[in-house]
Subunit: 232 residues, 2 copies
């Protein structure tokens, strides 16, 4: 395999721990008796169905702040929070801009950046991705992904527009993600793929199903291991 | 003046020294008797007329690699280089991806980044901007500008699309440039403006005409001084 010129990264789950960050933001509101882990899971559970309304053309492209807020408003009554005031709703929605990286993320990306162009290729929009990068120390050379293409992964235009923005052919780029479906879609566009194992994405002590043998080009336990595997 | 949330930077001339970089790339080809400074000036002289063909709608948006190459091919005969082979033409065109920063650029941007979101808002496309950033150590939070808007400064959509991508209102962003025309266009879109004095842009011992009094919000001698003026 010829060396890729650039690595493009999924962010939610792959680089940052969305679940802990959302739970922490909820707990910081200081309300008693709310099952924040369940709310975080339900919130993320609304994500793919929401994206599908954009991918299907049912509604025009809107960014994740809009989708996160709509899903939150829909879910709050189920968690006894039907009357949560506007400022707290805004604060919770903004928690998706302030998620921590996994312990290996900043160091792994820093090493990979020395050898490769590194870019985010997230469904998060640019403003959200910039805020996350500053909060979690993600040293992107460029913020690419959904907003550039005005589409949502796994739609092929997100990968292809991002690769094109780097001036590369798909085979010169490698998509890095903790989600086999993201990688399968990238591979179908001609990109190389690296799977990163994030068993705690859906909670401590969880599990993550790795892709089928041969479905990806590389498998790594975290981003530091990925840097080592790629000689960075 | 309320503090801006983000600073957006012109790159060619403001952050990097295009003229020295292009001259150096020419000299490195090892050909005798070519007036590389004159060629660099003539090459840059083709820039605004070329951009105007896109801005006017005469041709669709194409990136600067295309425009730089077209101008080079047009100019070479005048400099005795009508027969310059293809690899050297490509090498010269690529020299626009490898320009050095001014001595204050990397340190000034690093300081500003601690306090503000910093983004490029250049007519350079994303791949070129990423290459320049890696070469010259420009630590952008995001690469915005012409390619995102598929327009060329001073068209307002370049500034407005870039500000929107950061999730800001125009008045929350400040455009930083060495060129009064760039700043006037940004100000007309509602952005704050900072002028940086780059008297050597067109050669050592040159001069640069600062904007008229009151035309910009800040004037600084370089990016380190700008950081100081903005408390960064």
């Amino acid at each position: 395999m010829a060396e890729p010129r650039a690595l493009m990264f999924d962010v939610f789950g792959t680089c940052v721990d969305w679940r802990s960050g959302v739970i922490r933001a909820g707990e910081e509101l200081g309300l008693g008796g709310v099952d924040w882990p369940a709310l975080a899971d339900a919130w993320r559970g609304r994500y793919q169905p929401q994206l599908e309304t954009v991918r299907s053309g049912e509604r025009p492209w809107v960014d994740l702040d809009v989708l996160h807020r709509e899903a939150l408003d829909e879910l709050l009554p189920r968690f006894g929070l039907a009357d949560l005031p506007e400022p707290q709703r805004r604060e919770l929605t903004r928690s998706w801009h302030r998620l921590d990286g996994w312990p290996d993320t900043a160091e792994g990306l820093g090493r990979l950046k020395r050898r490769f162009v590194i870019a985010s290729c997230s469904n998060g929009h640019i403003a959200l991705s910039v805020a996350l990068a500053r909060h979690a120390g993600l040293p992107w050379d460029a913020v690419l992904g959904a907003e550039l293409a005005r589409a949502y992964k796994p739609q092929p235009e997100v990968y292809l527009r991002s690769v094109e923005a780097l001036g590369l052919e798909p085979a010169q780029a490698m998509m890095v993600a903790a989600h086999p479906g993201d990688l399968a879609a990238a591979a179908a566009c001609g990109l190389r793929t690296a799977y990163v194992h994030r068993p705690d994405e859906h909670g401590p002590g969880g599990s993550a199903e790795p892709p089928a043998a041969g479905a990806v080009d590389l498998v790594a336990g975290d981003l530091i291991e990925l840097a080592g595997r790629l000689g960075a």
